[in-house]
């Protein structure tokens, strides 16, 4: 039962804190900081379903986020849909697309798969750049009219924030639920040894396709919400390759394959980035320091922070998930 897992309650407490902290004193700057952390957590924990749980490195994970943003913004702006409905529709549509892509590229293993995901990202980006209804390379803007039905921009942004926090909570709960399910067990078996898993009875083809599709859903919803908040989207912001890679860095930092690791890594990375960007001396070297950190993690602590804790305290495996 998921209710008996300490991690489940931890997720709820974390989400509650995200809701409560900026609310106190209507602290908008804090809200804007936290929403970035929340998005980072959404991306890294869903990416974790592929990299950490299944062992398939997705370099193009951001494509789900960007497509979700486009579909969401298109539906709310050009079609006048309700935001929540539009976001869900974006999630469903992107998951379905992922299933189609997945059936093709999941036949590849290891590095070949990783490369194909880069190809998918770039191809989708190139397509959007040439796609007229979505404004080609200039992208789409949202008129402030759209906020009206929400009682003005202020209220709309707060509401949007809570929705993002909701998606964050769902992402983490989904990660946990999968981890403690039969489905998750099958995925871990694939990660450890795909051939052995198949011989043990796991339908690897179907499992991989499902998890690839599932890992697309919440990032797409989050994309729809975030680009609604920003009020604009263009193909370069939506499908930024380096953002995709940063998701992997976060995951490695925290510890791939663990629910807490994905959240922790995202939090640490965002904190580090804001720290570096605000420090006048270090802001030029933000990338250098992040890269150095990643190198250190890869070379000396490939299990990330949580992996390191596991090594120190083997018993922690059962408690921290």
């Amino acid at each position: 039962m998921i209710l008996r897992r300490p991690s489940f309650w931890l997720i709820l407490i974390l989400s509650a804190a995200f809701v409560y902290l900026p609310l106190r004193g209507q602290n908008v700057p804090l809200r804007e900081d936290l929403v970035l952390v929340a998005v980072a957590i959404i991306l890294s924990s869903n990416l974790n379903l592929m990299i950490g749980y299944t062992g398939y490195v997705n370099f193009g994970h951001i494509v789900f986020y960007g497509l979700g943003g486009y579909i969401g913004l298109y539906l709310t702006t050009a079609r006048g849909w309700n935001l929540v409905v539009a976001a869900l529709a974006a999630g469903v549509a992107v998951s379905f697309l992922a299933l189609l892509f997945g059936v093709g590229i999941l036949r590849l293993r290891g590095a070949y798969f990783a490369l194909a995901t880069i190809g998918v990202l770039q191809a989708v980006q190139a397509f959007v750049i040439n796609f007229d209804p979505w404004g080609r390379s200039t992208g789409m803007y949202m008129s402030f009219e759209a906020y009206k039905s929400w009682g003005g921009a202020m209220r709309a942004l707060w509401l949007d924030y809570y929705l993002v926090i909701g998606v964050m909570a769902l992402s983490l709960i989904l990660s946990l639920a999968i981890k403690i399910s039969k489905f998750g067990l099958g995925l871990f078996a694939i990660r450890e040894n795909e051939d052995a898993a198949s011989v043990l009875g796991v339908n690897t083809t179907v499992y991989k396709a499902i998890v690839y599709s599932v890992s697309a859903f919440l990032p797409a919803v989050a994309g729809a919400l975030m680009f609604f908040k920003n009020g604009m989207i263009d193909p370069f912001v939506a499908f930024e390759f380096s953002l995709s890679l940063e998701g992997i860095v976060m995951l490695m930092l925290g510890g791939q394959g663990t629910v807490t690791g994905a959240a922790l890594g995202a939090g640490m990375y965002e904190w580090l980035r804001s720290f570096l960007l605000t420090s006048p001396k270090l802001s030029d070297f933000q990338l250098v320091i992040a890269g150095g950190l990643l190198l250190v993690v890869v070379l000396f602590a490939p299990g990330g922070l949580i992996g390191w804790v596991y090594r120190l305290l083997p018993r922690a495996r059962g408690v921290i998930e």
Binding site: I180, S181, K182, L185, G186, F188, A189, R191, E192, N193, D195, A196, A197, S198, V199, L200, G201, V202, N203, T204, G257
Partner: protein, 250 residues
């Protein structure tokens, strides 16, 4: 006796190499069938064809009344044909219990997670690994990993178990224990098809033996018959006369 597994004219080709060539045999319900032959004779390839890892090039494979030729491995195990690997394939970063739970979850009974955990616990007791259930699989010794292979396959509740060199690399005490385990598995109603190099063990355990050499069936029969077969002796020990001829030429 009823045949549980019927293999007819099965071949497997890799590029230009015919690894298994027109092999036919049957395995009866409740028996232990041994498969022997020199290194590179195609024994493991034959296993891989039977359980669907490789697609056979021609021939038919009938298991428990179903044609399983060309079926993928996960389908085959769910029909009741489980196997172990010659080179152990533990799911390293998972616990021993989780390894076995995978077998129970996705095996013939396709159990839910909780039921599978219980089965895993029982099977681990059965193979004498109850105390190591919470260890990571990677931390097991080679003997432990071999045992884990067997446990995982057993957890799938198979009707037929394919054992690929479960004795290789074990010391005499471990070998004795493993032989005992294989017997108990058969006594519990599971048929066994085993590749084994350790002649003493395979001769003792098997009801019948199939000998493979260069991908072809060299002989088939009861252990005593096979052991007296001059062709088999040559394939395994080498022809003593060749040796003499070689030294004579001085």
């Amino acid at each position: 006796m009823m045949p549980l597994l019927e293999v007819k004219d099965v071949s497997k080709r890799f590029g230009g190499l015919l690894a298994v060539s027109n092999v036919s045999f049957t395995l009866n319900q409740g028996e232990i069938l041994g498969l022997i032959g020199p290194n590179g004779a195609g024994k493991t390839t034959l296993f891989n064809v039977v359980n669907g890892v490789f697609k056979s090039d021609g021939g038919s494979i009938n298991f428990d009344g179903h044609d399983i030729a060309g079926k993928s491995p996960h389908r085959v195990v769910q029909m009741g044909l489980a196997r172990t690997h010659q080179i152990v394939q533990p799911l390293n970063e998972m616990t021993v219990r989780d390894n076995v739970t995978v077998g129970a979850c996705f095996g013939r009974e396709y159990l839910g997670l909780n039921a599978a955990r219980r089965v895993a616990g029982d099977v681990l007791e059965q193979v004498g690994m109850g105390a190591r259930a919470n260890q990571l699989a990677r931390s097991l010794t080679i003997a432990g990993k071999k045992r884990l292979e067997v446990a995982r396959a057993l957890a799938a509740k198979p009707k037929l178990l394919l054992l690929d060199e479960v004795l290789a690399g074990l010391n005499p005490t471990e070998i004795a224990k493993m032989i005992e385990l294989v017997r108990s598995i058969r006594d519990s109603g599971v048929s066994v098809f085993m590749i084994e190099h350790l002649m003493q063990a395979v001769m003792n355990l098997s009801d019948r033996i199939v000998v493979l050499n260069f991908g072809q069936k060299l002989a088939e029969g009861r252990p005593e018959e096979v052991a007296r077969n001059p062709q088999v002796i040559e394939a395994y020990l080498g022809d003593p006369n060749i040796a003499e001829k070689l030294t004579e030429k001085n």
